[in-house]
């Protein structure tokens, strides 16, 4: 088990360390303008020095990302159950949900801002718009893929439709729900930051925007924010993976 895990994370870690070292060497050798591409060492130190501004930004954006994901999961749950329960809803709604993915969600950001202003709500809405689809499709397909033998068995026990949903359909759809949620997690911070680019009072998007428009330009802090977003996304992904384990204790580990 331990050696297996070691084998999983060691190769990508080595590649990453090598890439960062190469980057540092290239900058140190004077091949790049440090104003445009600061070295990784410099990025880490100047971002560290700017903690007073970075932490509040992280807090705001994390709040937007998490609340947006929760809103997406709640909406996906309601719509997926409705689609699975009523055939007319399925026929009328499912094709439209899929078609709605042709709308570039980024293009909705200005609209969302016009409607809900500069506060927390438009960010939550935009994150939810980005995150909704993978969770909804995962749930809908998971519910539809329920083992028909199990459903028939419970029907012979005179189970109600609610009992079928709670005891068979939903537990059976959980793995695909979490697969969808993990995909959505990777969108959440990005969506929140796009919304902040358009207009915000605080957050990582605004932090990057300010750094990019400072004089002289603070490329190091833009890099720092990007690294922070990547780390935060990994952390959120790990939290969801942990929830998945707690929610499905019957799954074999390993």
């Amino acid at each position: 088990m331990n050696t297996l895990r070691f084998r999983t994370w060691l190769p990508p870690a080595l590649v990453l360390v090598a890439a960062v070292a190469l980057w540092q060497l290239w900058v140190s050798a004077g091949h790049l303008d440090p104003q445009l591409v600061p070295g990784p060492w410099f990025v880490v130190w100047s971002t560290w020095d700017d903690q007073a501004n970075l932490w509040p930004a992280i807090g705001t954006t994390t709040e937007e990302a998490v609340l947006g994901l929760l809103a997406a999961a709640a909406a996906a749950f309601v719509i997926a159950v409705a689609i699975d329960t009523w055939v007319p809803v399925r026929r009328g709604l499912y094709p439209l949900i899929i078609a709605s993915q042709t709308i570039p969600m980024i293009a909705l950001a200005p609209l969302v801002l016009i409607w809900w202003g500069f506060g927390l709500v438009p960010k939550i809405v935009l994150v939810a718009l980005f995150s909704f689809f993978p969770v909804a499709v995962g749930l809908i397909q998971g519910l539809a893929a329920t083992d028909p033998d199990s459903l028939n068995l419970l029907r012979t026990m005179r189970a109600s439709r609610l009992a079928l949903l709670l005891r068979v359909r939903l537990p059976s759809a959980l793995p695909q729900f979490f697969t969808g949620l993990k995909i959505s997690v990777t969108y959440a911070y990005g969506a929140a930051i796009v919304a902040e680019f358009v207009g915000a009072e605080q957050g990582l998007g605004l932090y990057m925007y300010s750094a990019a428009h400072a004089a002289p330009v603070a490329t190091d802090l833009v890099f720092g924010a990007i690294v922070a977003i990547a780390l935060l996304t990994i952390a959120l992904f790990a939290v969801v993976a942990g929830l998945e384990r707690v929610a499905m204790p019957w799954k074999p580990r390993g």
């Binding site: 199990s150 068995l153 029907r155 012979t156 026990m157 189970a159 059976s172 019957w250």
Partner: protein, 288 residues
Amino acid sequence: MTKRTTTQAAAPDQHSRAASLELRGVGKRFPGLGGAAPVLAVDTVDLLARPGEFVTLIGPSGCGKSTVFNVVAGLEEPTGGEIRIGGEPLADRLGASAYMPQRDALLPWRRVIDNVTLPLELRGMSRREARGRARPLLERFGLGDFVRAWPWQLSGGMRQRVALLRTVIGDPALMLLDEPFGALDSITRADLQDWLLRAWASDDVEGVGATVLLVTHDISEAVLLSDRVYVMTPRPGRIAAVIDIGLPRPRTPELRADDAFVALERQVRHELQRAITERGEFSDQEVT
């Protein structure tokens, strides 16, 4: 039969509910898909199981045995004939029998004990009371060490025992077993047949004494467990022969070596082969 009578006298509250099952000319026609001609899965099936009898339906694969089962269980409606349970022609048969599907259909997200208590919970019994009832039975079914295990941790034979316990725990009047050991290797299958025989011979297991309809394509299983065997033809299924298994009860696994047992096996095999070849010639004629 005599064994059943004494058992009934010993614990009347447990077995008095055993219900008769009667099929009169039951047929099932499925609508053809995409404009195709309708498919006649089951032609006419007549079958009788008196209260407490163990009756087997045997036939080649695809003869519509499982369709008969789904119709009796109330999952599907017959397109012809009548089904009587306990003497009554029941329109809504869901819940009138306990059903053990071909695949065990254990819910992976429920521990062994919670899979077993499922029918009790759906009936409104508290989880605590249901578990209290399941625990001693799990011991008797040889699953005492696996009460809190997840289904994936069990062997195929153990899974079938859990599924069978789930079927008997509600003390059903009628049990439908659809090839319960069909997916197991032959050693495990024989082991479970012997075990089922012993469980049936004991007085104190709930559900034992219920009327049973078993579907199988295992001749030895049919003879060992049944009071009567109905032989079905290939699709569209109908009853080709009825064979009474007069072997005395309680039966033991050693019975398999008995001359009378072997003779009955031969008889069932003979009827089965005749049903297949007759139907085969018949369909040849249809083609030409």
